[in-house]
Structures are given as C-alpha cells and as structure tokens.
C-alpha cells in the first residue's frame, strides 16, 4: 500500500466545554475518494477546518504528504496541495468570478501571468462558471456561489480537495453533472474528501465512507457496509429507514 497522502490521527477539538471532535482518525491514499456523513452538528465541517488548517486541533495530528502540518496555517497547506470548498460559500464578493479563481490559481497554484489566468479559466469551466467570468461574485445566486467554491478549490491545483456539501441545494437533475465533475477529478488522480448529505451522490463516487456522530468515528469502511451498519442507520438514517431512500433500499 502506498504511503498515505493524508493522515488524521487522534484529532480532538473543544469549543469551551463542548467537545466537537474526539479522537478522530482516518487516512487517505493518494487519489482516493473518501466520503464523510453524519447528522447535523456531528463535527464534519470542524473536521475539515482542522484538516485544512483554519482551526488548530487541541489533540492529535494532521500529516499531509508525509509532513506534519498540525501547526501549519491554511495558506501553507493550500500551497502544499490542499484545496477546500466551504459549506456556506465565502466568495470574494467585491471581485469578479474570474478574479476569485485567479486568487486561488496565483497563490494556491503558484502561477503568475498567463498561466494563472489559464488555470483560473480551466477551473471556472470545470465548475460551470465560464459564462459568468466578469460577474461580481457578490451578486451570484447560491448555486453559483457553490460552483465558485468548487472552482476556487480546483484553481489551486490540489492533490487533495476537501468538499463541504457542494451538492446541498442542487436539484435532483443537477446532481449527476456534479457527480461527473467529482469523478473527473478522481480520474485525474486528485484525492477527495467529500462531506455530503445527498448520500446517493456520495456513494456514486467514494470508495470509503466515514460516519461521524457527536465528534466520534462511528464507522468507517466500504460505503454500503457503513450505511448498512445498524448503529449508522439508527443515528443518521433513522428517520428514513423503510422509506424510499434509494441507498437504504439498495443495501
């Protein structure tokens, strides 16, 4: 087995007296697609914040590409090859869509001049924003803001991309196109950590799945096996059991 690209070991995070993450560990091989599910408030976004360096963990370590990055900032991790999209979009509202991607291409991707604009443009095309390049990002609607999150993450030319609920809010008809986009990334050898509530989109892409609840790893492994786990069904899918969720039926 290849050396892991990302290794999260025993990570803990507290906000005051509230334990948000407790002894979370997982690792990711280069090019692997990894999914994270869990109920609201399970600590999924906090986990991504610890992985990409927006938050420092209180315990444990994060190793990226063989280097301990636990104390490194988000910018350094991004330049090392870690792209990130936010669940609640954070566009650079006063800049155009192209300029947003250009920031990521210039600083995350390390490009300048023509190479930077080409890289930014490629990311916009992939994310489906090519026809809105000159639009101020602050005037985009929610779906396009989500696309911009993806475009910015891609423009950093990551080896690992962290996607936080990019399918949330998409219509049923739009999900397949997104699944194809993420599959395309994986096909190019980009490793993906994807948090998503749209479970069927996730299962269509990822090869391993982690279920997080109350900041702890409840189950990790083959997606179908994890979703069939009685504990996972109880805490996460409990309300839909026996319902018409295609994933539950498929298992």
């Amino acid at each position: 087995m290849a050396a892991p690209l990302l290794e999260v070991a025993g990570v803990g995070k507290r906000f005051g007296r509230l334990t948000v993450l407790d002894d979370v560990s997982f690792s990711l091989a280069p090019g692997e697609a990894f999914g994270i599910v869990g109920p609201n408030g399970a600590g999924k976004s906090t986990l991504l914040n610890v992985v990409n360096g927006v938050l420092r963990p209180d315990a444990g370590s994060v190793t990226f590409d063989g280097a301990d990055v636990t104390r490194a900032g988000a910018a350094a991790r991004c330049r090392a090859g870690m792209g990130r999209s936010y669940q609640i979009p954070r566009p650079f509202g006063g800049m155009t869509v192209l300029e947003n991607a250009l920031v990521a291409a210039s600083f995350g991707g390390g490009h300048s001049g023509r190479a930077a604009t080409d890289c930014a443009w490629g990311a916009l095309e992939t994310a489906g924003l090519g026809n809105q390049a000159d639009v101020p990002a602050g005037s985009l609607r929610l779906l396009d803001r989500k696309r911009l999150e993806l475009a910015r993450a891609l423009a950093t030319e990551p080896r690992l991309v962290l996607l936080d609920e990019i399918a949330g809010g998409l219509t049923e008809a739009e999900v397949p196109a997104l699944v194809e986009t993420v599959r395309g990334l994986v096909a190019q050898g980009v490793a993906v950590v994807w948090i998503e509530h749209v479970v069927h989109a996730l299962v269509a892409v990822v090869t391993r799945l982690l279920c997080l609840t109350y900041g702890r790893v409840l189950a990790v492994g083959d997606p179908h096996a994890v979703l069939a786990d009685p504990q996972v069904v109880e805490v996460y899918l409990g309300s839909t059991i026996g319902g018409d969720d295609p994933v539950v039926e498929a298992t």
Partner: protein
C-alpha cells in the same frame, strides 16, 4: 425554486480556449493622459502662483497622501485604523529631529523619516494584529496615544511644547516654498502611482481577497498576515511622508496637533466620501475635503457641522462614495481583470 440553470458543466464542452484577459480600457488611457496633463500644470504652478496658493496646495497633497494610505489600509487591507496619527507624528518629528538635531539635509530627512515610520510599524504590527475589527481600531488609537506621550517626554524635540524646523533658515522663502511644494507634489504622485502599481500586482490581488474574506483567502493559499503586515508598514511610511510634508510646510511641530485623532477623522472622511476601495476615491475625497476646508474656514465651529452634514448626505445618496457614482464604468486606475471579447 425559480430560475435554476442546468449545471453548465453538462452543456458546455470542456476545455474551450481560455480568453484573453484585459486590464484596462479606453477610459484608463484617456485618464492617464489627463493625469499627466494635470501633473504637468501642477509642476509649472510655482512660476505663476502666489506663495499662499503653494502652501495651500501642499495641504491638499498631504490630504491626498493620507487618504490614499488610509484607503490602502482599510479599503484594500481591511484594517480600520484610527491611529495613523502615530506615524504622521513620527514623520513630522522625524524630519525636525533629523534636520535640526542631526543636521541632515531636510529634503533627505523626509524619506529617512518615512523609513523610520516603517521600521517602527513593523514590530508594532505584531502587537496590533493580535486584535481584530473594532478592537484593532481602538488598539491603533491607543498605540498613537502612547507614541504621543513618549514624544512629549523627549526634551530634544521640545517635549510638550513642540519644536520648530529651522533647517530651511538659510533659504529664501520663495525658493523654500517652491521646493517644499515640488517635493510634496512628487510624494503625492509617487504614493498614488505606487499604490496603483501595488494593487495591479499579485500582492494587490491578495489584498483584495483578504479585504473580502480573510479565511477564504488563507484557504486559497494567500499568506494573509504577511500581506497585511506589508500594507501596515507601507501605510505607516506613507503617513510619515505626509507628516513630514505638513511640518515642512508649517515649519512647526506640536504633539497636540500632529498626533491629533482629527487626522484619522479626516482620512476616514476623505476615503468614505470619495469611495473606499478605489484609487480614484481618495483623490476625489481629498479635493472635496480641501474645498470644504477652504470655503468654510470663516464659519468657525459651524465648519464641522457642515462637514458632518456633507458626510451624512453623501453616504445616503452615494453609499459607495462619489467615485462610486461612476458604477465602475470609468476606471482611471484599472486594477481588475476582465475577460476580453472572445474571438
């Protein structure tokens, strides 16, 4: 849900040729020509105007520098400072100390004083950057007060009563005023042009991103603290130049006036009235403030009331400042990136 577009990725063929990116249009070229003409007239001005006009215009140039620096801090760096008078004061006192006490040529002392401001600002930033938002603003004011109190302890520069700039005494006033005028004009042009070039550079792109969302900027690979520190140091040096200009113009420095928080109020007025986050805005704001100051001088205290009313009206009518009324259609200093027409 209304108006949901299909994901464009499904309909658009991947890998279309990247378009050319434009960084300025016709208005920028016309603007550049106009700017050169204005500067040329201003350079020639001392040969055909009174000394009083020149002294007044040095005041305008210092407002341009101050507004441009505050805009760099707040409009691009996202740092609302109300303590830039610390560096205005160090610049002014620096000029007096270097020229009078150390015997340095005053025209050389001005840039040296600015460098001193930058050198002071660099370690200060580690203190100030521990605070964010409103706390940062108050922190900068506290730092400015500390600097003022420290300066009033120094007998070599007149302690609490201030000092005079005597280094020009050998110079005929006609020449002195013209030289100070040209120096101030040069500083104003260099500062505005310097900020323009900075904002067109990669650093400018990083700063604009930081202004809009520092967390997302960091996650996109921008070294946020380093860029902000650079801006803080540059803005300190720029305010130091303005302080030195003011003292070279009035020949007198006093702790109460050069470290006055009024300077921060002026800078905020200039930038907000003119248009924050644009290079043109502070120029417009400085001219408006200068004209108000000039025409309302005899009103006494009512002058501040009128300035306040003007500020309220303009923020209501033009929330993005006077330059914001152009809605981005006119860019004299284009810093953005636009996709050109596709061939």
């Amino acid at each position: 849900m209304t108006g949901v577009q299909p994901a464009a990725g499904a309909t658009r063929p991947a890998g279309t040729t990247p378009p050319k990116v434009r960084r300025g249009g016709r208005s920028a070229r016309i603007g550049a020509v106009a700017m050169v003409a204005v500067v040329a007239v201003l350079v020639y001005l001392p040969f055909m105007s009174s000394r009083g006009t020149q002294i007044d215009l040095v005041g305008l140039f210092s407002l341009v520098v101050l507004g441009t620096m505050w805009n760099l801090l707040a409009g691009y760096g996202g740092m609302i400072s109300i303590g830039q008078q610390a560096f205005i004061g160090i610049g002014g006192y620096g000029l007096v100390y270097l020229a009078t006490n150390l015997g340095l040529d005053p025209f050389l002392a001005v840039p040296v004083a600015a460098v001193v401001c930058g050198l002071v600002a660099w370690p200060t930033s580690y203190l100030a950057f521990r605070l964010t938002g409103g706390y940062f603003a108050i922190g900068t004011w506290v730092i400015a007060e500390v600097v003022r109190l420290l300066v009033t302890q120094v007998d070599a520069v007149g302690a609490g009563s201030g000092a005079s700039l005597t280094a020009f005494s050998g110079l005929d006033p006609v020449f002195r005023i013209a030289y100070v005028y040209w120096m101030s004009l040069t500083i104003a042009v260099v500062v505005v042009l310097g900020v323009y070039l900075l904002m067109r550079s990669r650093t400018g792109l990083a700063l604009t991103a930081i202004r809009d969302d520092p967390t997302a900027a960091a996650s996109s690979g921008v070294a946020v603290d380093r860029a902000k520190r650079l801006v803080y140091v540059v803005a300190a040096a720029g305010c130091g130049l303005a302080g030195a200009m003011i003292v070279a113009n009035t020949l007198r420095v006093q702790p109460g006036s050069i470290f006055s928080v009024d300077y921060s109020a002026m800078m905020i007025f200039i930038v907000v009235i003119g248009g924050i986050g644009t290079i043109e805005g502070p120029l417009v704001g400085a001219i408006v403030f200068y004209l108000l100051q000039d025409t309302l001088a005899e009103l006494g205290n009512w002058y501040l009331v009128v300035v306040g009313v003007v500020a309220v009206v303009i923020t209501l009518v033009a929330p993005k400042g006077l330059w914001g009324l152009t809605r981005g259609r006119v860019e004299l200093f284009p810093v953005g990136y636009r996709v050109g027409p596709r061939g």
